[in-house]
């Protein structure tokens, strides 16, 4: 069933990227995700083709789904659908036209990584864009981000440029990984000062002043925890106007009715 869904997306020529949970599974940064998230190019043509596919596979509207209007799609609203599989199993599809913290679709699409799977050949969002999407309010996403960073490091190793090190060191939230990178790579240590990330400065000090190592590592860990809290808050702030708009739409009875077949086209 899921294979048919992706085959249909590909044969209709929908421009899309697999993002979030399933993308982290494909990269090896997570072992499980409960749903399928895709980013569809926010044009009426692509969304109309998507709706055709959902309708053909008897997908239904799920909870809190706003009307299929291009202005709402481009603002970053999420569209939720569910499908029934054999054996009464169901799966959930979440679609966005503008995920948080990433640029435009076409730029991301140019950096897509294609994976061959039992669902077919799937375009997956690049690791660096995926890391931005995963900077959510959910605490469990931060170890996954560090895993993605480690995977990117392994892909690049041994030719890690200074720019790559900047990205790696900016996006690692596991103290053990920070210690590993700074202990083993002179080029990584060289970019620490320019990044102005307190946790990196503390780890650097821990590596130099061995007697006070424990103190500095503790301070670095505290800084990482604070940074995570800041990112979680930023994510809440990002979603606030979207959630408020969703509430207004609900109040006015404009949400798509749950369990309905989605409309034929966007407006």
């Amino acid at each position: 069933m899921i294979k048919r869904f992706f085959q249909a997306l590909n044969s209709e020529g929908v421009l899309y990227l697999l993002i979030s949970g399933q993308a982290t599974v494909l990269y090896g940064a997570a072992t499980f995700s409960e749903d399928i998230d895709i980013w569809v190019n926010p044009t009426p043509q692509d969304w109309n083709k998507l709706l055709k596919v959902i309708r053909r596979l008897k997908g239904k509207v799920y909870k809190l789904t706003p009307p299929l209007r291009m202005d709402l799609i481009r603002k970053g609203h999420g569209y939720h659908f569910q499908f029934q599989q054999r054996g009464n199993l169901e799966w959930f599809l979440d679609v966005m036209g503008k995920p948080p913290r990433v640029g435009d679709f076409i730029s991301a699409f140019k950096k897509a990584v294609y994976h061959r799977t039992e669902w077919g050949r799937i375009p997956v969002i690049g690791i660096r864009e995926l890391v931005e999407i995963k900077k959510t309010r959910r605490l469990e996403d931060y170890p996954v981000i560090s895993n993605l960073v480690r995977i990117e490091y392994n892909n690049l190793h041994p030719s890690v440029s200074s720019q790559d090190w900047e990205w790696i060191l900016k996006n690692t939230f596991e103290i053990e990984d920070v210690i590993y990178y700074l202990s083993n790579h002179r080029r990584a240590r060289a970019v620490v000062d320019s990044l102005k990330r307190k946790c990196l400065t503390f780890v650097n000090k821990a590596l130099i002043e061995k007697r006070k190592k424990e103190f500095y590592i503790k301070e670095a860990s505290k800084q990482i925890a604070l940074e995570i809290e800041e990112l979680r808050e930023k994510d809440r702030v990002y979603w606030r106007p979207i959630i408020e708009e969703l509430r207004r739409l609900k109040k006015r009875g404009e949400l798509l009715p749950e369990n309905d077949t989605p409309p034929l086209s966007v407006c």
Partner: protein, 52 residues
Amino acid sequence: MKEKKSVPIFQTYQREIWVKFTPAQRLKRSWELRKRIKNLKEIHDKKIFPSP
């Protein structure tokens, strides 16, 4: 005696074994695991519609 640092089993599995599978193998195994989860809807809803 030097204290031995414990590493969570899951993290070791992810770092040592999981990353060595191909993307297709990971996807297949992940969906096998998914079949065993009873409250998928709840997990999904909690993620997508967090309580304020």
